[in-house]
């Protein structure tokens, strides 16, 4: 994770003390700090309290904050997501954990019809300061119904902020911003990355929405990669570097608002773009980025924009099929080579 490490190292020079934490700890720190800062913040979800979180993200938080603020729910996503939205309208600042984002589908109407539209529909009267968070994208061999990547889905609806992070540094900084936001935020994590470690500042920091991060600099081809795909893109970039193709890897971190300027600036330099994401192809984030980039950098593009996405099939269980279905370094390399006419 050279890019992310570089970032953390850069920060280190300004923020003297650092710590090595994994992604789940970084998230927990953000939650804890914000709960200490603001009494109105509470955490709610399945198994978040007594079980310490299905993926141990909220470990120890029940002990620290008690059952009033760390709340186990029944398996009724529509009910508790909606309840949390109502409580946000009433002045609280809930953080709702979906055990995985797949289970947000039963709460879809509450998220779209209520959370995303409330501020607009009330002419600015009510705010819904809420964070929905949890693991997103394919888990390990968990098959069709448990493997959705929801960046494109939720970013399609005005009124929702959508973030998708892949390092402890980004996760902590952006989650803190999300909890302080006055808007509903879909904060997307990844189960496969919870154990991923990084050196991050000990002191408090926040990362604003809408700022992409260049995870690797390069001149030959821009890769925009989202969430876990950043790591796969970094892998691919190593391989491609050995072939003489230097990729610039941009991690948007927030999908909405999207930092299109950073992407366009990079494309003006490399003249080539490949987008990598775990969403399905049709109408994915790649499609959106393609539209925006060709709109703003039409004359700078030397090749069609490529994309590497989750294939247009539900995720299968068998290992060989699963690994072909998810964007992998091989497919990323192929797409980059094609964009570079190699």
């Amino acid at each position: 994770m050279s890019g992310a490490d570089a970032k953390a190292t850069a920060e280190k020079t300004t923020l003297a003390e650092t710590q090595v934490v994994d992604l789940r700890t970084a998230i927990r720190q953000a939650l804890t700090e914000e709960m200490l800062r603001d009494e109105r913040v509470y955490v709610m979800g399945e198994e978040v309290a007594e079980y310490n979180g299905a993926y141990k993200v909220t470990k120890g938080m029940l002990d620290q904050f008690g059952p009033k603020r760390i709340i186990d729910t029944p398996i009724t996503e529509s009910g508790f997501a909606g309840l949390a939205i109502g409580s946000a309208m009433a002045g609280l600042r809930p953080v709702v954990e979906f055990m995985s984002w797949n289970f947000s589908f039963v709460a879809f109407d509450q998220i779209i019809s209520n959370a995303s539209k409330m501020h607009y529909m009330t002419g600015g009267m009510f705010q819904v300061p809420i964070v929905f968070r949890g693991p997103n994208g394919a888990g390990p061999r968990v098959s069709s119904q448990h493997s959705h990547s929801v960046e494109a889905l939720y970013a399609h609806f005005p009124g929702l902020i959508v973030t998708s992070v892949c390092t402890p540094y980004d996760a902590k900084g952006i989650l803190k911003t999300a909890i302080r936001s006055n808007n509903p935020v879909c904060f997307l994590e990844n189960e496969m990355l919870y154990g991923f470690e990084q050196e991050i500042p000990t002191a408090e920091y926040l990362i604003p929405f809408g700022q992409a991060d260049i995870k690797r600099p390069g001149d030959d081809c821009t890769i925009v990669a989202i969430g876990r795909c950043v790591h796969r893109a970094l892998e691919a970039a190593e391989q491609l570097a050995s072939e003489g193709i230097q990729c610039e890897i941009i991690d948007p971190r927030t999908i909405k608002p999207l930092d299109i300027d950073t992407i366009v600036t990079s494309v003006r330099k490399t003249n080539r773009l490949v987008v990598v994401e775990e969403c399905h192809t049709f109408g994915g984030v790649s499609a959106e980025i393609t539209h925006l980039v060709q709109e703003r950098a039409f004359d700078d593009l030397d090749a069609p924009i490529g994309r590497v996405t989750q294939m247009e099939c539900p995720l299968p269980y068998a290992e060989n099929l699963e690994s072909e279905s998810i964007p992998n370094p091989r497919r990323i390399c192929e797409a980059v080579r094609q964009a570079c006419y190699r």
Partner: protein, 346 residues
């Protein structure tokens, strides 16, 4: 269907006893409230005919006693309320100026939500009214969240969620009630059974007759049935369930057996019932007429008093209409405003 005049804990009092408990002043005040709702909505019909009001328009005509009886036990300093798209009565009862509501219906920027919501989406943050909601059953978790906030902030408040008979078939109903009971929330769920969900008679949509009483035990909560066309029944039953929910922080489920005198929405020609049936409903089950008759009979109000009330109410509505007419439409810059709330300086 059995209409239950008074059920649950107050079934042993007579209407006259309740009336006396309410007392003259409060009864007259409630009569005025009900009449304001009625006259406001009658004017809405006119607004729709004149195409000043567009979109869906769902009226509360015939159901005024339900919200009126209940709101007279609530305090908007602490108590939340929320309802469906049939949402004109609540803000009026909460004292939201009729002007702002009519202006909203006219799509004006002076409307309660700046012309962005229309009839189905009245809201009032000041009055803790969490709004009118368009998705059947969508408001139920929201109201539960209001109750959660009351408990979290230890305000002593309760939260009342109004919904239609049709809405209690939705999954959100079930999920909300379970949560409220599990967590001892001060949540009140009021099923306004107006005998239809759109054109579908309740019995064709809900598999039990006494909705609250037969479902409440399945959530370990108290169930109440009240005569939604009788202000006394509503007021008295609400006294019990609002009081209990407030003092015990336990949820209540309430069914108000009621009727609507008009179509589901302004565009419903009501093929499912005859004109005669409607006329006879109006004759026998008009919550306002019942109180009116009683006011006269008890001599608590004279015919002149009633005329004066009507005139005053009509004046409020006329003023609202004028205000709405004269108000400007939203600036085009409003289109992209309020998509996202402004962020605090971090």
């Amino acid at each position: 269907m059995t209409v239950v005049p008074l059920a649950g804990p107050s079934s042993d009092v007579t209407p006259a006893q309740i009336r006396d408990e309410i007392g003259k002043d409060r009864l007259v005040a409630m009569y005025e409230q009900m009449l304001l709702i009625r006259r406001f909505e009658e004017r809405c019909i006119q607004g729709a005919r004149q195409k000043k009001i567009a979109g869906f328009l769902h009226l509360y005509i015939g159901q005024e006693s339900i919200a009126t009886g209940i709101f007279n036990h609530l305090d908007s300093a602490t108590d939340y309320s929320v309802t469906s798209y049939r949402d004109h009565a609540q803000p009026l009862l909460l004292g939201v100026p009729a002007r702002e509501l009519m202006a909203e219906l006219f799509g004006k920027v002076t409307g309660i939500v700046r012309g962005k919501g229309g009839s189905m989406h009245f809201f009032s943050k000041d009055k803790k009214f969490l709004g009118g909601h368009g998705i059947v059953g969508g408001q139920t978790p929201i109201g539960t969240g209001g109750a959660f906030a009351c408990k979290y902030q230890n305000t002593g408040g309760v939260s009342v969620t109004f919904m239609g008979d049709g809405a209690c078939g939705q999954g959100t109903f079930h999920e909300s009630l379970n949560l409220a009971s599990l967590w001892d929330l001060p949540a009140i769920y009021v099923i306004e059974n107006n005998e239809y969900g759109m054109g579908t008679a309740t019995a064709r949509a809900i598999s039990v007759e006494m909705i609250a009483e037969s479902k409440a035990p399945g959530y370990n909560m108290d169930g109440y049935t009240m005569d939604g066309t009788c202000l006394y029944s509503c007021w008295k039953t609400a006294q019990t369930f609002v009081g209990k929910t407030r003092s015990e922080s336990r949820p209540s489920l309430v069914e108000a057996k009621s009727v609507r005198f008009v179509g589901h929405s302004i565009s419903d020609s009501q093929p499912y019932r005859s004109r005669e049936a409607i006329a006879s409903l109006r004759e026998s089950r008009d919550c306002i007429a019942k109180v009116q008759a009683d006011l006269i009979e008890t001599d608590w109000a004279s015919a002149d008093d009633l005329d004066a009330i009507d005139a005053a109410v009509k004046q409020i509505v006329q003023d609202a209409w004028n205000y709405a007419e004269e108000s400007p439409i939203p600036p085009v810059s409003d289109l992209m405003r309020h998509v996202f709330a402004e962020e605090d300086q971090l």
